[in-house]
Symmetry: none
Subunit: 126 residues, 4 copies
């Protein structure tokens, strides 16, 4: 379920963040679902609790989670989320950069289009 690669250059807490984001976006974790407690998750994935803590905090900052003191942390409902124009702009920039790199690494426009349309369909069904 959780893919952690200690040898990666990405810090562990970032990997935890990405993993949880993926689970949310794939619909495995749904709004109002309760997440495991920091200590619990840290045991499950054998990672320092501080690291999990940091990941939860970051996810909260990005609006994916919210914490109710004494009860736990939960997935944010869609209606609560506000589209963040700055974030979208940033994502667009990244997308542009990514496409440049794909092309620079020898991938043809047609190939890239195929790849992306595939990805879009795949997600659409998830």
């Amino acid at each position: 379920m959780f893919q952690l690669d200690l040898k990666s250059r990405k810090s562990i807490y970032e990997q935890v963040v990405d993993n949880i984001k993926s689970l949310v976006m794939a619909g495995v974790l749904k709004p109002k679902d309760k997440l495991p407690s920091v200590r619990e998750l840290s045991r499950i994935i054998t990672v320092n609790p501080n690291t999990v803590q940091k990941a939860y905090r970051e996810l909260e900052r990005q609006g994916y989670l919210y914490t109710v003191l004494g009860l736990g942390t939960f997935i944010t409902e869609q209606s609560e989320r506000k589209p963040d124009e700055d974030k979208l702009n940033d994502l667009r920039k990244q997308l542009r950069q990514l496409i440049q790199e794909l092309r620079y690494n020898g991938m043809e426009t047609a190939e890239i289009r195929c790849l992306i349309l595939d990805l879009l369909n795949e997600k659409g069904q998830a």
Copy 2:
């Protein structure tokens, strides 16, 4: 020409790397072009020479540049580059993640498709 943000979470040398990559991929810097010397660029962007050198090294590792001792650093010819399958896989992963995020931030599939097709055309003409 060069966009550096000292406050960014990205390290300076990484930003230098990204900037140069962009210039290469946009065709501003062409194969066999000579880059500014380490010292020169460091003066231009008011950054320590070591930092610039680190960036150049990384770009060399990634195959964008090559160094001729005592002469300077130059842009790699396309024909010299060999496609790196690991790199491509990594880019594909990133793309997937990016699309997930776009969708999570409220962008519809159709919108994303439009955005990407636009980007693909734009580059095709560059």
Copy 3:
């Protein structure tokens, strides 16, 4: 344990690289072993931490080590290493050159053969 020659034409960080490679290949350092921290090793061999770090980076690039942020650097498991055909070709070239030089310096083919067979056996038992 560590042989450093400050007067050598080889740079210090390269010597550190070679030393550690030797320890790894001789089996003194085994997969998953933790290496001394950058600061620690720099103290031991009285060399600047930056120099040690450069050596570690190079070893990581060559696949001998990997880094876990905040924890330390470790020896790569054999199974994780992928044979690098370019590297092998390079080594073959070096070998060829080396044999030429041995011969040029007066060593007979038979002597060279003996020498090499000895070396092969020696390692086989290590």
Copy 4:
């Protein structure tokens, strides 16, 4: 005839040295043969004369060449060369290191033996 790779990490003068050594050891250049003048060779291989100069000097130091002022530089006769025990020791060390690396990069003892015997025969006929 001459293989120069500007992108190599090896300095150019070292590559010139290696090339000439190879020609000598392969018997293409024979004792008492006259080498092209510094200026001539520098033109032929389109390299800075200083670089060729440095290569010749190094080859002289190692005993491959000798210079007669006003006449040119020539290949040393075999009888003039004195076996250098230090050099031989150094070469043995290098050989040992090289075999270690081959093995570390996944080559089996048997394979290495084959490779080396091949190389020995190949040279024996040259």
